[in-house]
Symmetry: C2
Subunit: 326 residues, 2 copies
């Protein structure tokens, strides 16, 4: 099956109207009036971002979801994406149908479509890149640079399952062994991270700065602080670990170090954001009303850096490898 | 040098305002009112699209130019691009500075900037993907689907140098050996293809359908015809081969077959388009006035397919490998 047939068979059915049936030189997108566009790119390489031989649908779903997570964290709505991949010619027919299926499931769930792309044969590891385009009402993108001293810091969802999920898919032992529901939760957290679109109203109404949790909570808070030229004090004991992750950490020789590892690992794909302290009650109420898990984890201060404080107000030492301040 | 330092040192200086210093989760682009967006993606893999060890600046320039060519052929203006690449960690510092330099030169020439992207280390062949975004006044994109029976078919520039340039860079002998100016022309055609932005006014005013010459003139005319549900009759003797390519073909055992090879090879990156026959004089005059090379090479007819006729009106047989009708 050559490139043209591959596109016609597996990818043309995923194309939105903007994709012009994947038969033109470019896609054609008419932006909604008074909207800004958000554009993001994420790439996966076989053997780096997913193990060789991994099922194509899972890879597609995770790749598209990591892109969606960026749009979601900025308060945006996804519209369409360009897909580029290179892969061994001999694997195409075997692997690509499932990959396309994973895209189909995910784009249907989040309301976007394929607009175009490029495919290449390679004799090296396969690689995949998606550029996703979304929009927000004019001026409403939540950037990383808007946090101010006095703001609260919030994080959505639960932390820790993604790191344990990564151990599952890379066959690193988890001790004690997780039970059935925990296994399911870990795998889902890693392979099907949930872009935070449910938090969009809260973000647009209240967030002064935001980032998705892709490099690790601590690093992502650090990105916001650096872009905003402020510092953060996080309350370590307030961090919303999942029950499974909490249990796992408690069984390690050093539970604090285990939790530090959990929040230094990326891939949780929730959103961390700052908001005015005066909005605290409104945010609590909105989240409770919408049944959204949202946790107040710290405060924005003058200065630079991110400090993580234990229950006695002592700054916890942080393993430097887990956190790059930039 | 890690990913953050690499981005900061080599890519942040290329970022436009929309790139938010490459420090946010997404780029932010405010489209001009009443403009449509054109989006295109092209990818290069080491060992497939360029030889291993090729100078980074050349690879960058060619990759960005192939994307620019798509925007140009649709009548658009380039705005910004997302760059994704994966590369052996050990090569990054040696190779990437020149690659970034090639991007800088090219984006400055064509008036666009870097908006974002993703970088990954791999132990396989390096791969590079660019998604370029441009715009046109609302409704003015020239699609592939607008050609009608009775239209003329035009091509910009000269044909053939790119195939000979490819022979140069892949060390396939060219017999007879080209002279100095020919060498320069071949190499330039292959490595620095010229996106057809100079033809933008003519395209917007007159073209009913268009494509850039990337798959080979015959194939690209075929794409337009198929999308437009019409057929083409091309005048083989009118095809505007460069003097070097013409000379080369005349020295081959079968000059006609040699020319067929030249127009079956892609990468000339001019634009081929259809236009109303009543606009013929206006197009000639505009091109002459603007000193643009534009050649009338055939006609659009009812039916399907592409026929290439010699001076006696006989249909030339075409090697099927050189031309996919789709």
């Amino acid at each position: 099956m050559n490139e043209f047939d591959l596109i016609e068979t597996y990818f043309a059915p995923l194309a939105g109207e903007e994709g012009l049936r994947l038969k033109d030189d470019t896609a054609l997108f008419r932006p909604a009036p008074h909207h800004d566009l958000l554009i993001t790119t994420d790439s996966f390489v076989e053997g780096v971002h997913f193990p060789r031989g991994m099922y194509g649908a899972d890879v597609a779903e995770r790749l598209l979801r990591t892109n969606l997570s960026d749009i979601a964290a900025k308060g945006g709505t996804p519209r369409g994406y360009q897909l580029s991949f290179s892969m061994r010619a001999g694997l195409m027919e075997k692997w690509i149908p499932a990959f396309a299926k994973g895209l189909e499931t995910t784009q249907a769930e989040f309301g976007c479509s394929l607009w175009g792309g490029d495919t290449t044969a390679t004799d090296g590891p396969a690689s995949f890149s998606i550029t996703l385009i979304g929009d927000v009402p004019e001026g409403e993108m939540i950037q990383r640079s808007g946090a101010e001293a006095g703001d609260d810091i919030w994080v959505s969802g639960e932390l820790g399952d993604a790191m344990l999920g990564c151990r599952l898919v890379t066959a690193v032992p988890i001790i004690p062994p997780p039970n059935g529901p925990e296994l399911f939760a870990y795998e889902a957290a890693y392979w099907r991270p949930e872009p935070c679109f449910k938090y969009r109203d809260i973000l647009r109404r209240h967030a002064t700065a935001s980032a998705d949790v892709s490099d690790g909570l601590l690093a992502d808070v650090g990105h916001i602080m650096k872009s905003s030229a402020v510092s953060a004090a996080l309350n370590f004991d307030a961090l919303p670990f999942s029950l499974g992750a909490e249990t796992w950490a408690d069984h390690q020789d050093d539970p604090v170090a285990a939790k530090q590892a959990l929040v230094s690992f990326g891939d949780d794909y929730g959103v961390v954001f700052s908001a005015k302290a005066r909005d605290r009650q409104a945010i609590f109420d909105t989240a409770r009303h919408a049944k959204l898990k949202l946790t107040l984890i710290g405060s924005v201060l003058e200065g630079t850096g991110v400090a993580c404080l234990d229950v006695d107000g002592e700054t916890l030492l942080w393993p430097s490898s887990g956190y790059r301040h930039k």
